[in-house]
């Protein structure tokens, strides 16, 4: 148990370590993705440098192996050559021994019959062509017989020769060092000297088989050692015995100073890279001693050719690893690119998710999400908290029944189920909700089902707006509207009443006046003889009053009509209107000498009918108040004074005292008596109403007996 727990703990530790590594790797990648150059470089180095290391290792290993191989091959060649030479020497020795142990020969030599003895050996050179000369010497080294015969050397003692010293040392067969022939042609040779013994083991002579060095060269050449390789033999004195490139004739070449030769003569074998002083190039020199003889074999080859294969291999290797390196670089780039793209995408996704979250969270509208199965809240935004008064901690995982009164929860849940069943959005224009802190609020809620890819509802999305205030406002607006409508109806009714009143005024009030006037006139006519002057005069006053009253009624109606009538705005040619009105006025009293001065081209925007009434009243006034002024002038124009532009009607008539100017535009207000100038005092009141209805202003300037000017704007 404990072990298991420890294992688990260990595993957890490992996991956390891996997670840590993965996390930091991800961080690194992220930074790389953010175009962090040093980190990108580090990644490249991390991935690429093992490739470089492996390549270097492989290079050096291969270099080493191939060098070793080449060298050991040289070594083998040297050993092989040594063995071959040994074999040749053995063979030569065997031939010599076979010849020296021939019974007949031994007998003849024992009897001192040298010529006869050599005669038996004449066929040897034919049998073994590499044997150059055969001769016999007595045990003191004096040449006794030879074949082919060389007269000058017969009888000469050769005890100084190596072949003699070697064999006479312990009377064993002996391979001599290289020496120059005593007779012409003096080419270089070696010799095998075999002691000839009688049956009683007495040394009676020496058989010498002389071999020309060319034969050795032939042997050395028979060893296959590569393109520019060669093998040479040295005797135990270090003299060159056979060299494929050096002639075996002429002076004997001494190689005893060559280091490898010195080594091989000491019985060592090995391989070395040396500088060949003769050819001024580096060579591999493998050397091996020839057993029993003290000779040595050196196999040499220029390093250039010896290592050609190695170098070629290495070149191939470099190319291969170069390709691998290239591929790994590309791979690294691709991996980096893909990973960083993935990281970027992931980062982008997270950023977008955050953004979405903040859109949901900061939305002023209540947003909530319920799981489709149990209708428990899984999301509840800030606005939802504000509206309901519940924190999301209190809501998440709960359903409507946990939070709201049963009836409300029933309603909510029913709607939820409906939405999920139909998979269609539902708009609930108004629903009550008992909040935690604000009592009952009204919500406008839209609910819709969020489906998973196969179309099964997974969540219920709700979006609610608190419409309590709006509803209240709407309610009060509705009330206000109703009130307004009511007032408007009342106003219309009042207007209607006013109209009816005006109608009856115009119709009914005039009727009695007509009676008063008419019957007064009837009295005057029918009872003229019964009335005195005063009676008639009184009746006349009655009539005048009734007519004045009729005029008052008419003017009053005109005034009210000005206010009630509908207004249109259109271009109105005031100049033409003034001309027409002036002509009308003139026609009422053609005898009057009066000048009208009317400005040209005055066109205003306004209601033609109303403006005509206004102009009519103003011109009437001017006409009236100039009636006592012969040769008067009435002017209509447009003036611009102190930035104030206005139309004006000016006369040079009676004028008035500006002290009373404020009474000028009041209804039934008059500044002159009726006896002075007729009038009801309604004209200017009418003008003012018309000008005001046009949004303009009317005012007057006057002096008593110096005329008056009425200005108006539109």
């Amino acid at each position: 148990m404990i072990e298991l727990r420890e294992n688990l703990a260990c595993k957890r530790r490992l996991d956390s370590v891996f997670t840590g590594i993965a996390k930091s790797f991800r961080r690194v990648l992220l930074k790389a993705a953010e175009k962090n150059k040093p980190i990108q470089a580090a990644i490249v180095v991390t991935i690429v440098s093992p490739v470089l290391l492996i390549a270097a290792f492989a290079y050096f290993a291969t270099y080493h192996d191939l060098t070793e191989f080449t060298l050991s091959r040289r070594q083998s060649i040297a050993s092989l050559a040594a063995t071959a030479l040994e074999y040749k020497f053995d063979r030569l020795t065997d031939i010599g021994i076979a010849l020296a142990t021939r019974v007949r020969s031994r007998q003849l030599i024992g009897e001192g019959k040298w010529d006869e003895a050599i005669a038996t050996l004449k066929s040897v050179r034919e049998d073994f062509p590499f044997i150059d000369r055969v001769f016999l010497a007595d045990p003191t080294g004096t040449l006794m017989a030879d074949t082919p015969v060389l007269a000058e050397v017969r009888g000469k003692n050769f005890a100084h020769r190596d072949w003699y010293q070697g064999v006479s040392h312990n009377w064993e067969p002996y391979i001599s060092n290289v020496y120059q022939r005593a007779a012409e042609p003096r080419y270089n040779v070696i010799a095998v000297s075999i002691p000839i013994r009688t049956e009683e083991k007495t040394i009676v002579g020496i058989l010498v088989l002389q071999v020309q060095l060319d034969a050795l060269v032939g042997w050395s050449k028979s060893i296959e050692i590569g393109a520019s390789g060669f093998v040479y033999f040295v005797d135990r004195k270090g003299q060159l015995a056979a060299h494929p490139k050096i002639s075996s004739e002429g002076e004997i070449i001494d190689y005893s100073t060559v280091p490898v030769v010195q080594k091989v003569l000491r019985g060592q074998s090995g391989v070395e890279i040396v500088l060949n002083p003769l050819e001024q190039e580096e060579q591999i020199a493998a050397y091996a001693p020839v057993p029993k003889t003290g000779w040595g074999v050196v196999a040499a080859e220029s390093t250039r050719t010896a290592f050609a294969r190695r170098d070629e291999n290495l070149k191939g290797l470099l190319i291969r690893y170069g390709l691998i390196f290239l591929v790994s670089c590309i791979l690294t780039y691709v991996i980096l690119h893909v990973l960083s793209a993935r990281e970027r995408a992931e980062a982008e996704r997270q950023r977008f998710e955050k953004l979405l979250n903040s859109v949901v969270e900061n939305n002023p509208v209540m947003i909530f999400l319920k799981d489709a199965k149990e209708l428990r809240f899984v999301l509840f935004n800030k606005a939802a908290e504000t509206i309901t008064g519940y924190t999301r901690e209190a809501v998440i995982g709960k359903n409507d029944y946990d939070l709201f009164p049963t009836e409300e929860a029933d309603f909510f849940t029913a709607k939820d189920r409906e939405v999920l069943a139909q998979r269609a959005a539902v708009d609930i224009a108004e629903e009550g909700i008992h909040t935690k802190h604000q009592g009952l609020r009204l919500l406008h809620t839209r609910k819709m089902a969020l489906l998973d890819p196969d179309g099964t509802p997974q969540y219920l999305l709700g979006v609610s707006e608190d419409i309590t205030e709006r509803k209240r406002a709407e309610e009060s607006i509705r009330r206000l509207n109703a009130e307004l409508q009511n007032q408007s109806i009342q106003l219309q009714a009042a207007n209607k009443e006013l109209e009816a009143f005006s109608y009856s005024v115009s119709h009914d009030l005039r009727a009695p006046l007509r009676s008063i006037d008419g019957f007064s006139q009837a009295l005057l006519e029918d009872y003229a003889d019964k009335l005195d002057e005063e009676g008639k005069n009184n009746l006349q006053r009655v009539r005048a009053s009734s007519q004045h009253m009729a005029q008052l009624i008419d003017d009053l109606l005109k005034l009210s009509r000005v206010t009630r009538s509908e207004m249109r705005r259109e271009p109105v040619d005031l100049t033409a209107m003034a001309h027409a009105l002036a002509a009308d006025l003139q026609s009422t009293a053609p005898e009057r000498q009066i000048t009208f001065v009317i400005a040209d081209g005055l066109v205003a925007q306004g209601d033609t009918a109303l403006l005509r009434i206004a102009m009519e009243n103003l011109l009437d006034n001017a006409w009236k108040y100039t009636s006592k002024h012969p040769g008067a002038q009435i002017e209509f124009g447009f003036s611009r004074n102190n930035g104030q532009s206005a139309y004006f009607v000016r006369d040079d008539g009676a004028g008035f005292d500006m002290t009373y100017a404020d009474k000028l535009f009041g209804a039934f207000q008059r500044l002159h008596s009726v006896t002075e100038f007729k009038g009801t005092g309604i004209g200017l009141a009418t003008v003012q109403r018309i000008i005001r209805r046009h949004g303009g202003r009317v005012w007057a300037e006057a002096k008593v007996n110096q005329g008056a000017t009425f200005y108006f704007t539109l």
Binding site: S502, Y503, S506, H507, D508, R510, A511, P512, L513, R514, S515, D517, G518, F519, S520, Q521, A522, R543, S546, Q547, M549, A550, D554, L557, R561
Partner: protein
């Protein structure tokens, strides 16, 4: 002139008296039939009610029609006259106190031949009646009379 009848539709006895006085003063001696409300006027035109059985071949040469009348008002009377084959062409002069634009428009629209506002000044009124009588009873050629069906 004796067979030319004037129909005066007038509810106000004072106005009636004054109109008759004005006619008399102008020596217009045609027979004047007075209807005191719109219904009575229609009865006269169509020979119904109090006027049932009257000689329908006799129609007023001119009708002086007040607008503001009890029972059936003047404009309605006019509409009914103009809506009937028998009375369509009869000259009707609106003689009223009203100077309302609306009344004028409606009067002409319904086919009034003339519209005269009663002046308060009796002398002017007399003058108006004189001209009215001269025109409609003397100068004007009435539409061809048709026999009653």
């Amino acid at each position: 002139m004796g067979d030319k009848i004037i129909l005066l539709v007038e509810d106000n006895p004072d106005d009636e008296a004054l109109t008759l006085r004005a006619l008399k003063k102008n020596n217009i001696q045609n027979r004047v039939v007075v209807a005191r409300d719109g219904a009575e006027a229609l009865d006269y035109f169509f020979g119904t009610g109090a006027y049932a059985g009257r000689n329908m071949s006799v129609m007023p040469t001119v009708t002086l029609l007040d607008l503001k009348l009890p029972k059936v008002d003047g404009l309605e009377v006019l509409r009914r006259l103009r809506g009937d084959e028998r009375t369509r062409n009869l000259p009707v002069v609106i003689l009223t106190s009203s100077k309302e634009e609306q009344d004028l428009l409606n009067g002409y629209k319904l086919g009034a031949n003339s519209y005269i506002r009663k002046p308060v000044d009796f002398n002017q009124f007399t003058e108006s009646v004189r001209q009215l009588g001269l025109y409609w009873l003397v100068l004007n050629e009435p539409p061809p009379r048709r026999e009653a069906p």
